[in-house]
């Protein structure tokens, strides 16, 4: 079901044109990479403050209220360019081990953000000026640092076909995680 939809998506003419384009694909990819600095970069600065490693004397709320809007702009650009890159070769990414690891980490990072804003952030006025925020806030910052770094690393490694389904034999766990079908998976 998912496979056949993605196969259909990858066979649309725009998807093929995007994948084969000489400049458009690299330009989208480069935008995706350069805007890492805005999105992950500003997110990491806030995380470092939450963990208590940097920006002593700057209230935590200053990051949430003033810097986070810029993180969100960066996120929107990452999502837009990322979806376009996925659209250029949906089936290949769907079965790519690193893509799956990246999605999993994105999910954990997302849950962590939700938890932070729904629970931890509510009491920010109490610990706004405290150099070391409460344990829950520090854990949220650390999880964020680990997940976004992991997303960057696994995202970069998607480009390498070490574990792709059409390169066999692979260890059984790789084929299981990537859901490689019995036949070689077409790009």
């Amino acid at each position: 079901m998912i496979r056949s939809s993605l196969e259909w998506l990858g066979n649309t003419s725009w998807s093929t044109a995007l994948l084969e384009s000489y400049y458009v694909w690299p330009l989208i990819e480069s935008t995706h990479v350069v805007f890492l600095a805005l999105f992950v970069g500003t997110a990491l600065m806030m995380d470092l403050r939450l963990v208590g490693l940097a920006f002593r004397g700057v209230p935590a709320s200053s990051f949430v209220d003033r810097l986070l809007p810029w993180t969100r702009i960066g996120f929107a650009i990452m999502v837009a360019t990322g979806l376009l890159l996925f659209y250029s070769s949906p089936l290949r990414y769907y079965h790519n081990l690193f893509f799956r690891v990246k999605c999993l980490m994105l999910l954990v990072a997302g849950l962590n953000i939700w938890l932070f804003h729904a629970r931890i952030h509510r009491s920010i006025s109490v610990w706004d000026d405290v150099w070391t925020p409460p344990r829950a806030a520090r854990v949220a910052g650390l999880v964020s640092i680990l997940m976004w770094s992991g997303v960057v690393v696994s995202g970069r490694l998607i480009a390498y076909n070490w574990f792709d389904c059409d390169i066999q034999p692979q260890p059984a766990w790789v084929n299981w995680v990537a859901q490689c079908a019995g036949e070689n998976v077409a790009r």
Partner: protein, 159 residues
């Protein structure tokens, strides 16, 4: 493009033990690239939050000079990681880089960006009275310079 006789130096770089080690490993280059990118995030974030502030955006409750002082160790640390990982990547494919226009764009803009960041866009400079216009020039010059460095760096892989 550089003078032709510089190629000897690039051939020497590519033949170094470090260059060969990275080139002959399946995993080294991609993993060093990944480290290079994570450091890009740290350095980019530490630069951008101060540059935005210089432009009158972002963390307006803080003074630019104070923010820049606190961000500086992260810029320096991440730049150190970027330079060392970058040198390793370069050594593994120095001859390819010699013929690569994006590489030369990066090699010209990178020293300019580094010099500008440490001599001009310095926390001590920001702590002196800057007119709003001077602050805006400082912030946009920094964003522009580092953008070109980053974009040219990514483009080395395509050309």
């Amino acid at each position: 493009m550089p003078p032709d006789d510089w190629i000897g130096f690039f051939e020497w770089c590519e033949a170094t033990a470090l260059g060969s080690a990275v080139r002959n490993s399946v995993y080294a280059f991609p993993l060093i690239e990944a480290v290079h990118l994570v450091a890009l995030c740290v350095m980019g974030g530490a630069l951008i939050m101060v540059d935005l502030r210089l432009l009158g955006l972002g963390m307006k409750d803080q003074k630019p000079g104070d923010l820049a002082t606190l961000a500086r160790p992260w810029v320096v640390g991440a730049l150190g990681v970027m330079l060392s990982s970058g040198v390793l990547l370069f050594l593994s494919e120095a001859i390819k880089c010699f013929y690569n226009t994006s590489f030369w764009v990066k090699m010209v803009t990178l020293p300019i960006a580094v010099t500008f960041t440490f001599l001009v866009r310095d926390p001590r400079v920001m702590k002196r009275t800057l007119s709003p216009m001077q602050a805006r020039i400082l912030g946009s010059a920094s964003l522009l310079l580092w953008f070109v460095v980053a974009a040219a760096g990514r483009w080395i892989g395509y050309s």
